[in-house]
């Protein structure tokens, strides 16, 4: 169920260069699943006006808390990065369709591939896969070491490999560079990152079951405004899908890349 709630900031910490971890508390945590997102009003004024879609990095239903990890890049996220404990933030969510945890067979292996700010939703996904008895392999790509995060958290959940464009951490290059060497054995892959990464994953594993999480500029976040549409391949009846309400996660091959 989608709710609108003024959630309370539990804490906010800067965990890498311009990367913030924000923990919020409130009832809408109860309905969250990995890969879904929330729509955040970063200010109570009309400036900035629009909400910001932000992915869900960790869910703790017991204490009604969830974690967002985001990059403070533009005006909105910079305002959000100033939020302090005790402050209330207007959150709409959870929104969209997340990763199908049940797609990975119990006792099997899942390959989780993320890029930059696409990495956070993989954390909650990995937690839930592990809880289900699925082994996880994480391949995480970043520009540089100074923007990497959650190494300890991912290490706890499974084998974790870092790839950086400038080679300052892990393998130098792109995630595909490492995957070519690693040749991991797995049953299903999940990927969240920039379009070229999604495309590379689809091309590298044409015969594997896979799920891709997309990003597109949004207006309403619930499917009414048609801002975030993507063309589909012929495999589905509609010739477009909305990233916000039909996605952001789609099975491999649905969205035209």
């Amino acid at each position: 169920m989608i709710r609108s709630e003024r959630m309370t900031v539990v804490r906010q910490v800067k965990i890498a260069h311009n990367i913030f971890e924000l923990v919020l508390q409130g009832e809408l945590v109860q309905d969250m699943s990995p890969g879904q997102f929330v729509h955040v009003k970063v200010s109570d004024t009309l400036e900035p006006l629009l909400r910001r879609p932000i992915s869900i990095a960790d869910v703790n239903k017991e204490n009604q808390q969830f974690t967002m990890i985001y990059r403070a890049e533009g005006r909105g996220t910079t305002v959000l990065s100033l939020a302090v404990a005790g402050q209330e933030i207007d959150v709409l969510g959870p929104l969209g369709h997340g990763f199908p945890v049940e797609a990975a067979p119990v006792g099997g292996t899942a390959l989780l591939v993320g890029g930059g700010i696409g990495v956070p939703p993989l954390h909650e996904l990995s937690k839930q896969l592990n809880a289900r008895g699925v082994r996880t392999i994480h391949v995480l790509g970043f520009q540089s070491e100074n923007v990497t995060f959650y190494e300890q958290q991912f290490n706890k959940l499974g084998d974790t490999y870092y790839v950086t464009v400038d080679g300052t951490k892990g393998t130098k290059g792109f995630v595909t560079t490492l995957l070519d060497d690693l040749k991991p054995e797995f049953d299903v892959f999940y990927c969240c990152g920039p379009l070229p990464m999604l495309k590379a994953m689809e091309n590298t594993y044409p015969h594997k079951e896979g799920y891709l999480s997309f990003e597109e500029r949004m207006g309403c976040g619930i499917g009414a405004c048609f801002a975030c549409v993507c063309q589909t391949t012929e495999q589905v009846e509609k010739d477009y899908v909305k990233v916000c309400s039909d996605g952001p996660v789609f099975p491999k091959g649905v969205v035209q890349l």
Binding site: L46, L49, A224, F226, S245
Partner: protein
């Protein structure tokens, strides 16, 4: 007895608040959030004869207290809108204003003829002001003679009253308003978005794939208020005002300028419950103003 109900051509409104076309889809998404029967009316997304795929993405960009959009009238086409979307909306006790768009006059006429027969469509909103499509839309709404002719052609086939949505992207909005009134329009809705552009901070290129987009949100409200004020003086048909409405005071402002009802657009994206919130806040606002019935404030700025 209600203090906020209003009668407009074709429309018995429980209250003067309605979501604006293009900002509410066909209501399905917002129906997950609240009971659509609370609304005064719903202006559904523009409907064309054939399915439209719309413009490339990115289609939206934020601006200072506003946003640009270039969706491009994406919609599933007349047949699906009538058989699926309007049918879905029959589940709610709310009048529908169908936004009619097209490429040629004959398209507008055919969509209007058919969609006006739907049980819950109580009025049409003629879209002669969309700035985001190459053919159809704004070029019908910037020339008084063309606007008048199209209005008359649609009026001749429509089974329900016809409102015409005016563009702010003209030298004299009053000339267009008078022309559509002469063409037989039963009402005017205004304003559509202002043509704008935002450039990418790093590349210097337009952020929106279409290049230009329609500016909406609080940033456009002063322009909209001015235009409603001018048109109210020039025509005798009612006006449904819109442009940057985000709260109950904005509604009072539009009605004071001359609007008989008010549509809420971009604010639906910012606060998804803005329409029911405004409706709930209206009676207290009337108390504050010392007004018995909401109709008393229509055009009060002119008195």
């Amino acid at each position: 007895m209600s203090r906020i109900n209003l009668e407009l051509p074709g429309l018995s409104l429980k209250n003067p608040i309605m979501p604006a076309s293009g900002c509410f889809g066909f209501g399905r998404e917002y129906a997950q959030l609240y009971d659509l029967s609370k609304l005064g009316a719903i202006m559904i997304k523009a409907t064309t004869l054939e399915t439209r795929a719309g413009n490339p993405t990115p289609r939206v960009a934020e601006t200072a207290a506003g946003m640009l959009n270039a969706i491009g009238l994406q919609n599933p086409g007349l047949e699906k809108v009538m058989n699926e979307e309007l049918k879905f909306l029959e589940g709610y006790d709310v009048p529908i204003i169908a936004n009619v768009a097209g490429t040629e006059v004959t398209d507008y006429v055919e969509v209007a003829r058919q969609i006006s027969t739907a049980a819950n469509v109580k009025a049409l909103e003629l879209n002669i002001s969309c700035p985001n499509v190459k053919c159809g839309g704004i070029q019908f709404g910037t020339d008084p003679a063309t606007a008048q002719e199209l209005t008359a052609a649609v009026k001749a086939v429509s089974s329900v009253p016809v409102y015409v949505k005016l563009s702010p992207n003209v030298t004299s909005v009053v000339d267009i308003a008078k022309a559509v009134e002469t063409g037989g329009a039963d009402g005017i809705t205004m304003i559509n978005t202002l043509v704008g552009m935002r450039l990418h901070e790093k590349t210097g290129k337009p952020v929106i794939a279409n290049g230009t987009g329609g500016l909406s949100g609080p940033a456009v409200k002063p322009v909209a208020i001015r235009m409603v004020y001018e048109v109210y003086k020039a025509v005798t048909i009612p006006i449904i005002g819109m442009g940057g409405v985000t709260n109950v005071q904005d509604v009072i402002d539009f009605m004071s300028a001359g609007a008989s009802a008010v549509a809420v657009g971009t604010a639906n994206f910012v606060d998804h419950f803005v329409c029911p919130n405004i409706i709930e806040a209206l009676p207290a606002k009337l108390d504050e103003l010392g007004v018995g019935h909401i109709s008393e404030i229509i055009g009060r700025s002119h008195r």
